[in-house]
């Protein structure tokens, strides 16, 4: 296992498989009367959230607590500016207290990578800007596999505001590593930059016509449909003209859901939340039997327990107090 989980690319297929398998065991803890195992006793985990996220933060917090770690939540509100404390100072101050792991949510892409270079503790990316959200991708894979079995050879379509989505970027890596075929669907303005060469390099496909991808002639049948959140604020940024136009083109409407389930009753529908009901997903679709939305939330704890276990429990899992001494002298980093 890598020392940090900064990107899904830190995990090869075998490591992803190990984490998902362990999550199955962790899921069992979730259904016990006494939800507590001693595995991370004496470990301290800091949930350092520079952005609000009730869902992810509480999920990590519960995961840590059920494994007997001490979890402490710190909200680093307000964006860093040249006048505020630098990110490096913020994290090194906490690191100096002797914590074992940082779980970090930050509005800036790459913030977790940078922090990993500054601290002795392990760093787990809980979402960085529009870059990645690896534990979300892991729980998505876990949830889909519980319903569909192995994702090898399955076809997953991901629809929505892809350019601003860290969930997309992590899922692209994990789904491809697990052997799934992936098709991205969005209007061109909501596609990430350079998507054509990216798709060519990483072996996925890109489309702009949702109905053609879902049921067009010769289209590969879709096993899972992942709807990503579209923020209404993007309209003012000129990414699309109106909510209505978006929904007609790319929303999972009641009609689309009906056509889809006619084609494939086994299809599953994911959404990382929070949902804009009526915009990218209709209420009928969100609450349909095919919807995994609540399963995703439930799986979040088990998957995060698994990640914490694999990163923190083993031989080099804790921050080594002895190794900390020379670095805390703040020396030797002129470059």
């Amino acid at each position: 296992m890598p020392r940090h989980l900064l990107s899904m690319s830190d995990l090869d297929a075998a490591a992803i498989r190990t984490i998902l398998d362990t999550a199955t065991q962790m899921h069992e803890v979730q259904h016990r009367e006494v939800k507590k195992i001693p595995t991370l006793r004496g470990r301290t985990i800091i949930n350092l959230f520079f952005e609000d996220s009730t869902r992810t933060r509480s999920s990590f917090e519960i995961a840590g607590k059920w494994m007997s770690a001490d979890t402490i939540n710190i909200t680093g509100k307000g964006s860093a500016t040249s006048k505020g404390e630098s990110l490096r100072d913020t994290v090194r101050t906490i690191d100096a207290m002797g914590v074992d792991a940082f779980v970090i949510r930050h509005g800036a892409s790459g913030a977790c990578h940078q922090v990993a270079g500054w601290v002795d503790a392990h760093v787990i990316n809980a979402g960085d800007g529009t870059h990645e959200h690896p534990t979300q991708a892991l729980l998505d894979a876990y949830t889909m596999e519980r319903r569909l079995g192995s994702l090898e050879g399955r076809h997953v379509a991901i629809v929505g505001d892809l350019t601003h989505s860290r969930v997309l970027r992590s899922n692209l890596i994990s789904l491809r590593r697990l052997g799934a075929a992936v098709t991205l669907v969005a209007p061109p303005t909501l596609m990430p930059s350079g998507i054509t060469s990216w798709a060519h390099r990483d072996g996925f496909t890109v489309g702009h016509d949702l109905d053609a991808v879902l049921g067009g002639e010769g289209a590969r049948p879709v096993d899972a449909l992942m709807m990503l959140r579209v923020q209404k604020e993007r309209m003012s940024g000129g990414y699309f003209p109106t909510a209505r136009e978006y929904t007609v083109g790319y929303g999972l409407t009641r009609d689309r859901l009906a056509r889809l389930t006619d084609l494939n009753p086994e299809i599953v529908i994911c959404h990382p939340g929070p949902m804009n009901r009526g915009l990218e997903i209709s209420a009928d679709a969100a609450d349909a039997a095919q919807s995994l939305v609540l399963d995703q939330v439930s799986a979040g704890v088990a998957v995060r327990m698994s990640v914490l276990y694999h990163l923190l429990a083993g031989a080099d899992g804790g921050a080594d107090a002895a190794a900390r001494v020379p670095r805390s002298a703040w020396a030797g980093s002129a470059a």
């Binding site: 190990t18 065991q25 006494v34 429990a313 083993g314 031989a315």
Partner: protein
């Protein structure tokens, strides 16, 4: 999940010369053959029934990995003797080990508690080798998180001595005096080619 190629974490946890550290060379001194193992299990099954005055309230929990098939075999013998099935399951102790920080992380194995649960039952923990006693200590902790048995008993195929905790087995297939530099290896047809217990290494 059935990672039968993984190193079995069931054996005792001391760093040196536990059964798990030996490559499967097939060499070494065979101390129990397939027939010996079969007879030992049959005897243990009868001991369990005798101590419990029948099969009522019995639950067998194997400690992965090799304790699990041993528990199933014991349950099968008991069912054959008593004429009715008894609950059998598995109890993984990975998350309860006291040496987690001394080794690379290992993937936990399934815990399967029978639907009847463990509350008020007589739980027999089953493992292949009893050595330092740390695995059993971890298993007792793990078991407590699943409920409150009326009693907990311990059945092992081999007791090789060198206890580090005040723990003893209720039912032993064979007491095997060893030195700590020796390695005891249990092979079971479920994972390996055939049933056997061998000793390798050590000063002879």
């Amino acid at each position: 999940m059935c990672p039968d190629t993984a190193v079995p974490p069931s054996s005792d946890q001391t760093q040196s010369s536990s059964s798990e550290s030996t490559p499967a060379t097939g060499e070494g001194r065979t101390v129990l053959g397939a027939g010996d193992i079969s007879r030992a299990l049959r005897r243990i099954a009868h001991e369990i029934l005798e101590a419990n005055k029948g099969a009522d309230g019995l639950v067998l929990l194997g400690i992965p990995s090799r304790g699990v098939p041993l528990a199933r075999r014991l349950a099968a013998i008991i069912a054959e003797v008593e004429g009715s099935a008894i609950p059998v399951g598995s109890l993984d102790i990975t998350m309860y080990r006291d040496d987690l920080r001394r080794q690379p992380t290992r993937a936990p194995m399934p815990t399967e508690i029978p639907d009847s649960g463990v509350d008020g039952k007589v739980v027999v923990l089953v493992d292949d080798v009893l050595y330092s006693g740390r695995t059993v200590r971890a298993a007792l902790d793990a078991l407590a998180d699943h409920g409150r048995p009326a009693a907990v008993r311990l059945a092992v195929l081999v007791d090789r001595g060198h206890r580090e905790l005040p723990i003893r087995a209720d039912h032993v297939g064979k007491n095997l005096p060893t030195s700590q530099s020796e390695t005891v290896r249990v092979r079971l047809a479920d994972f390996d080619d055939a049933d056997s217990v061998t000793i390798t290494g050590g000063v002879r």
